[in-house]
Amino acid sequence: MAEPAPAVRRALGAHLALVFAFLYAPIAVLAALSFNDGGLPTVWTGFSTKWYAALLGNAEILGAARNTLIVGIVSTAIATVLGTALALGIETRARRGRAIEALVFAPMIIPDIVLAIALLSFFSLLGVPMGLHTIIVSHVVFNLAFVSAVVRARLKGFDWSVTEASRDLGASAATTFRRVTLPLILPAVVAGALLAFTLSVDEFIIAFFTAGSGRASTTLPMQIYAMIRFGVTPEVNALAVIVMLVSVAAVTLAQRFDRGMVAR
């Protein structure tokens, strides 16, 4: 990019500062409110951590947090294995059909609501009882697409001669994968897994439709949605801050593992 003139540079700098203010001000306000003793957004009545303490005593929220972790960890584990295999398959086989590319890309662009109602209709028609297990298998759909995209990006510059060398030296396909390929792509696999976990923990619409009825399979985003819709309690501010910190920590960690990869 060409060096802009000083006046243009100043205008661009001001614009970017405003955009960052727009992006971060709402988040900062929530964080500040979570420490407001009175808990109402209108009046500051003093610093307090009582809303965080209240969260620890709220069995509903703790149950939802546990469900969210189960869904996040299990769906990420399945998606990481399947997504890595898929990425390797697409990059190594000559048969790179556009249909497969579209299939892998589709979960990222199909509107969430459409995928959610599609899964709901599908499970109902088959008579599958819904609960955490249906949320997990549904989350694997987009997590899998996502992990494979991150791993494929890393494989673009992959030097396949090292795997050929390994095979020439007598290693089996499994040994080559375990001792050569996997260590080389591991940072991307870990980054993909961390980002998939973040997506899964934050995902609301698909979980909402595939959870079935009953509170037993409520996840944190479902809990947050209910709290927002039916009367906000100040606890939601504290919960928002914790959920946000977990997501940001996972994404920052993923960024460490896979430099240059910023977004999905």
Binding site: A2, R93, A118, F204, A240
Partner: protein
């Protein structure tokens, strides 16, 4: 590879195919599905009530897209013009909010736009004493929420071609006597337009099918296609009509993606010459 593809076929392709199929059946008398072929669900889409909701959705999504593109392109331009070593950090900061929970980001706007929310408080501090303006539960609130949530994506999509822009191209334009604005309009903008198109399509597609933002920031009465789909499946129990609405959403999405693919192909030729400088 095979298990992954099987997973996608079983839990994405088949369910979506099922929705497409449902759209061609009749609604059962007591809810449920009556397996008789019909096209009336699609005919119902033209009903003024539903056509109106489509128009509202298109207007809201279109405005959100336009605003996000203008703000986002400027931000991406500013990041691309910053010193090269600072660019990764700026880009990371721009995209970071995108990774936090969508509901929480939307909820933050309820806090800000509330009748006695922080914006009203701010006005009071400035000496405003009248009736607080009604900011929440308006179309403007919905558009603000959508712009806020999808802006990082536009920044990212526009940054990609802007950062690869060959500086010699702008210099050549200047040497040939073009002013800064003409250079931007005739040189920079055309070769980065495919990034804008990618970002715009993404925002539009995500906005038009959205139901969370209209439900939370638009209040109960403000409806978009996503809310209608939600209601057909969870409240009205009219799955065939809900399926027809979903099919329409997918059709809109496919048309836009095709248009974008065309724009990208056309832009790629120009961009190849202009970038990698």
């Amino acid at each position: 590879m095979a298990p992954a593809l099987a997973w996608l076929v079983a839990l994405m392709v088949l369910p979506c195919a099922l929705v497409l199929a449902l759209a061609f059946f009749r609604r059962g008398i007591y809810g449920g599905i009556d397996y008789t072929f019909t096209l009336e669900n699609f005919a119902l889409l033209a009903d003024p009530l539903y056509a109106g909701i489509f128009l509202t959705s298109a207007r809201v999504a279109g405005l959100a897209t336009a605003i996000a593109v203008v703000i986002g392109y400027g931000a991406a331009y500013a990041i691309a013009a910053a010193p090269r070593r600072r660019q990764p950090l700026l880009l990371f900061l721009a995209v970071l909010p995108f990774w936090s929970n969508y509901l929480i980001r939307t909820y933050a706007w309820i806090v800000l736009l509330n009748r006695e929310g922080l914006l009203t408080q701010g006005l009071r501090l400035l000496g405003y004493t009248g009736e607080p303006p009604s900011l929440l539960y308006t179309e403007g609130a919905v558009i603000t929420g959508l712009v806020y949530n999808y802006l990082p994506f536009v920044i990212l999509a526009c940054y990609a071609p802007l950062s690869r822009l060959n500086p010699e191209l702008a210099e050549a334009s200047r040497d040939l006597g073009a002013g800064r604005f003409t250079t931007f309009r005739r040189v920079v903008l055309p070769v980065t337009l495919h990034g804008v198109a990618a970002g715009a399509v993404f925002v539009f597609v995500l906005s038009i099918g959205n139901f969370v933002t209209p439900a939370l920031l638009g209040g109960g009465k403000f409806q978009m296609i996503g809310n209608l789909v939600y209601a057909q499946f969870l409240t009205a129990n009219d799955w065939p009509f809900g399926a027809a609405l979903s099919t329409a959403l997918i059709a809109i999405m496919l048309v836009l993606l095709l248009v974008q693919a065309r724009a990208t192909e056309r832009g790629a030729g120009q961009a190849r010459e202009a970038t990698d400088g």
